[in-house]
Symmetry: C2
Subunit: 455 residues, 2 copies
Amino acid sequence: MSKPSLARGTRDFGPEIMVKRNFIFDQIKIVYQKFGFLPIETPAIENLSVLMGKYGEEGDQLLFKILNSGDFAKDLKENDLEIGSKEILKKVAEKGLKYDLTVPFARFVVMNRHLLTMPFKRYQIQPVWRADKPQKGRYREFYQCDADVVGTESLICEAEIVAMLYEVFENLHIKNFVIKINNRKILTGITESIDAAGKESDLCVAIDKLDKIGKEKVEIELLEKGFTQKNIENLQTLFNLPHDQKQLFAALKNWLAGSEEGLKGVYELESVWNLVENLGISISKIAFDPSLARGLSYYTGAIFEVKALDVSIGSIAGGGRYDNLTGTFGMPGVSGVGISLGVDRIFDVMQELNLFPEQLSVIGTKILITNFGEKSLPISLEVLSFLRNNGIKAEIYPENSKMKKQFEYADKKNIPFVLVIGEEEIKIQKFNLKNMLSGEQTLLSKEQLIAQLHV
Amino acid sequence: MSKPSLARGTRDFGPEIMVKRNFIFDQIKIVYQKFGFLPIETPAIENLSVLMGKYGEEGDQLLFKILNSGDFAKDLKENDLEIGSKEILKKVAEKGLKYDLTVPFARFVVMNRHLLTMPFKRYQIQPVWRADKPQKGRYREFYQCDADVVGTESLICEAEIVAMLYEVFENLHIKNFVIKINNRKILTGITESIDAAGKESDLCVAIDKLDKIGKEKVEIELLEKGFTQKNIENLQTLFNLPHDQKQLFAALKNWLAGSEEGLKGVYELESVWNLVENLGISISKIAFDPSLARGLSYYTGAIFEVKALDVSIGSIAGGGRYDNLTGTFGMPGVSGVGISLGVDRIFDVMQELNLFPEQLSVIGTKILITNFGEKSLPISLEVLSFLRNNGIKAEIYPENSKMKKQFEYADKKNIPFVLVIGEEEIKIQKFNLKNMLSGEQTLLSKEQLIAQLHV
């Protein structure tokens, strides 16, 4: 006998949670489809050659690796033990679990390049796995909901991503959110303009803390990271950027005038703002955030992040443009841009703000038929099939238990109606329908029953 | 640069396949829900302590094991290498990928015993993993669609499973199938009646081949397996069982009169037949098959298997009753019965018999708006949002490419309508709608467009 337990950082989802999660998935799918994205799925298991080296050294560490089947240790030598896990890994594991949906998607695009119509728009809703230290809100197995367009550099795609985010969160009744946007080229431009080229990463980490620790402490951190006093003087413009959109873009152009890359970034940013307005969307929930970097891993243009306000939950969506992702699989020149929604975080936001629709509480069966044993069973089963054939979710209590127990079952499962079919009812061919909420009871024929339940 | 490849025995699903698979999933879900089953999900990753020993020795071999994170080899000693993989496994892997949905469900039930309302009916649609040798129609990662009831021994559940199978396959237009039913107790009864108690497994393997190799060869195999000539003489009744249902049950009762367990099995079988008829279902597609065993692993009562006729594809569903599954996790006395549908096989059957509905060929966008560049873009994007806000799946071609290319895109993606918005159209505020199938073109206002597309 083994004591049952969940693997660390994983979760079961019972019916109540599933219904709420499916509500979120469905709303996302509806929007993705409305914008012309088509579904694909890739396997959970990928060859490690596909995954390794795509997420930085830390990412490689966080990949779950799968032991080769059969006698996996047959090639291990004493010498391997001395070198350690890294050497042994190469000999015992060729496969791993996918870490995100973007890299497998890039693999899919490259392997299906001759079949796909470009630009290719796909969405993908699947679990991913990361061997992170589990903590509140961070799991080792969690779902991502991605939409990406590859095969075009058009900034319309960036604007459409913003439009999709608006529509998804509107449909989920998450009203208070901000879509932070940055552009990798602007980050490059800033480092060039302050004479600190190549230090985007350190710069981001520091200025990301501006809200929390204030300007002075940010400057101290920059000095510690090797930025000069002169660098920091040049950076002052960043702390004083205007909030008004037009002034903002003008100020950026002025500041980054010496960096071709930086100006290109500002132009891209401005274009996205204009295209979003063309799509009829208020830009009030979009904010330029020069500290946004999201790891900088493979982004080359726009960088997105969505934060829900009113709650202290991290970002609920993130994404950006990448120019070189299929290049790592031998297919250069395919630019892509995408967004990934974090269902677990969105769930937490909706739970905390009580945003799930009321009707999700009745999640299953609409009517339970009581079981009075063998004599009434044939009629009960006949009525049961009649109800189901009329599209009503119905079940019969499987055992001839006490009425109290059968009603308790309906109550606990939140089943709104119970139909009592006993000897008396069979005689008169009318059945006793009890409304579990109001307590009201009505004698109804089969046909009347359908009419009543379809209301 | 790494050459992209799929891990052996795994598959990508592109949009056309996804839409067809989702059609199957949806039909199954609708029926499961109509019968009062609620959805749950369990993680892909389970502790090996939960999985090992539940599927026999072969099953243990076929489990995918996950390497522990971090410095997994730090406890390995030279001595371990000498003992080999089995010893090393214990030190380097604590987790694995789930092998089916039933054992994780049993774990779920035990861990949530105080929260669940019994009898508990759940369905679960998720991938499972087996390190089998990949071959045509057999994958290492594939979906199962399970429905189980636990917490009752009522045979109504068996009858409802039959009813669900009828409805699922009817909805999928798979008309020609047979539901084979056996009962583990009858198998036991037969071995007792022929004086070969305990040899159910060998008996099944042999008589399973009756159709293929004929009675004589089956008897030779039984002799080889250690059955005596006397055993085989006693077994003759099996080869001459009547087809008529009433006669069949009478013959079985007569034959197995000496085995209490066997008679109980016949009684159960007969009850299921009657309950199925009570549910208004023709029993013409149900067949008693005494050779059906499905590995015998954890089944204790009914055993089900569904075969599609007209095609040479193996079983498309299987299941049965198990009395001891939660017992292995320390919770005895919970009887359950369930069915598992094999979506990959069902897909193959539907593909081969051309059963997917026509309308699944238009899987995404309903209308593509052309892109004539900057001048017309604001109006094009406005119309795009207008269409989407009216619930129409719409997209704009993201680049200002040649018209031919844009139309080709619509054609390849099977988009039924293209809307041309050029300078002329903007002047008169009417847009040119082209029906890609008929070639017909119509000038329409925005409002007329909606009316046209909603038809």
